[in-house]
Symmetry: C2
Subunit: 217 residues, 2 copies
DNA sequence: GGAGTTCTTGACCGTGCGGTCCACCATAAG
DNA sequence: CTTATGGTGGACCGCACGGTCAAGAACTCC
């Protein structure tokens, strides 16, 4: 039963009110990035609302009005992160002139940071899966979906490499899974404080064994 | 400057008082195991003292008197866990008649659990490193030390395999690092909800590429 | 049994948490 | 200008957290 409605139906996302009022004083994407970095550094549980207010520069009221509670804000930041990551992955896999090199870069990418600072942070999605995967089915499902997509992207690149004469005889999806697992393993070893040189050597060693180059044969 | 001391010096760990009084009503190892499982399932921050009291059956006072605060109790449980793990690793690597098979088992071990329940929990040390590595230097240092020890144990097994005619030409330590990274990667993929069959296939695929068997050549 | 010591229990405490609310502000439309 | 509307910031709330403490129970030694 509906009564006469004088208000705009705001249940539809991004619908604008009939009359504009005070506009937002912040950029949503900037806030999400700041919040993402905070969760990335400290984890979900160890990040307090005060932390989020500090890094975003917003008050509690604004944060809650714009994003809902802490968990929803976290999920928004996490989705934003994985979207960006997949964008980068797509670009990296597509841009390399030789697909085999792109796949190699996959394994060495986690160590790219010369300072090692980024290496210590790991991957936000991986960290979140570890911390919340058991307790939050939504985070787990998101992780599962995301890694399946990554696998598909990598498998496409493997297929391209095969079109270029490399990796003959491999099952693209199986190899993609092995590469993704290896990448996550390298990423993790970086978090344990392994020095950059050793990490790089390990990444190259894995790349050499999983992605043999027979062009010189 | 010391005054006359009538009390026993309890700063030395495990020193017993001169006069026995009321004995403990709990077994320390059992409590540590219960506490470890709780931290394992929920993570450090998400585990409350109430949880710890519930799973251990002890009151707050007893817990604090026996182990100190929450963090120290966690560190005790973590050390106990890694000690046990290294015990199992030593045994597994030594018992296999063929060293190459032992190394293969390393990669498949994370998927051994038929129910998949254990697979979802991952490894307590890995979880803890992800959650606390950035914030707690002691946890990070412990993780680093532990994985270095694991690397050494695996490298020994690689050397044994070479003595048995396998893995000719590989650098034991480098291969050990690659194997450990791959294992952690598989372990992590299991946490993302990947089904057991796919996980097993990935583990076998990695094992086949990192640990080739040329005995039939 | 009494004395001395340790362990246990649970009430208690201060703090910081996540979350709500409301008075005020900035803007757009009339 | 006035008015309506949504944004903002901070006061405020109840709660659960980690941690403390004191009193009593359980035990050994004399």
């Amino acid at each position: 039963m509906r009564s006469t409605i004088s208000m705009v139906d705001r249940t539809v996302k991004n619908s604008y009110p009939v009359r504009m009022a005070r506009p937002r004083s912040f950029d949503e994407k900037q806030v999400l990035n700041a919040v993402r970095d905070q969760f990335w550094d400290a984890g979900y549980a160890a990040t307090s609302l005060e932390d989020l207010m500090r890094v975003s520069g917003l008050g509690k009221g604004s944060l809650y009005a714009a994003f809902g509670d802490k968990r929803q804000l976290f999920l928004r930041a996490l989705r934003s992160y994985t979207d960006d990551s997949h964008g980068h992955l797509r670009k990296a896999l597509a841009e390399a002139p030789r697909a085999l090199d792109a796949l190699r870069m996959l394994l060495e990418a986690p160590v790219d940071d010369p300072t090692g600072a980024g290496t210590r942070r790991g991957c936000l999605l991986a960290n979140s899966t570890c911390e919340l995967g058991n307790a939050d089915p939504e985070v787990l499902a998101h992780a599962h979906r995301t890694y399946e997509t990554s696998t598909a992207l990598i498998a496409d690149c493997v297929a391209r490499a095969q079109g270029e004469g490399d990796l003959a005889g491999a099952d693209p999806i199986a190899l993609a899974r092995a590469l993704l697992a290896a990448q996550q393993g390298i990423l993790f070893m970086g978090r344990t404080g392994l020095d950059t040189a050793t990490l790089t050597a390990t990444a190259r060693s894995l790349a050499a064994q999983l992605l043999p180059d027979h062009s010189g044969d």
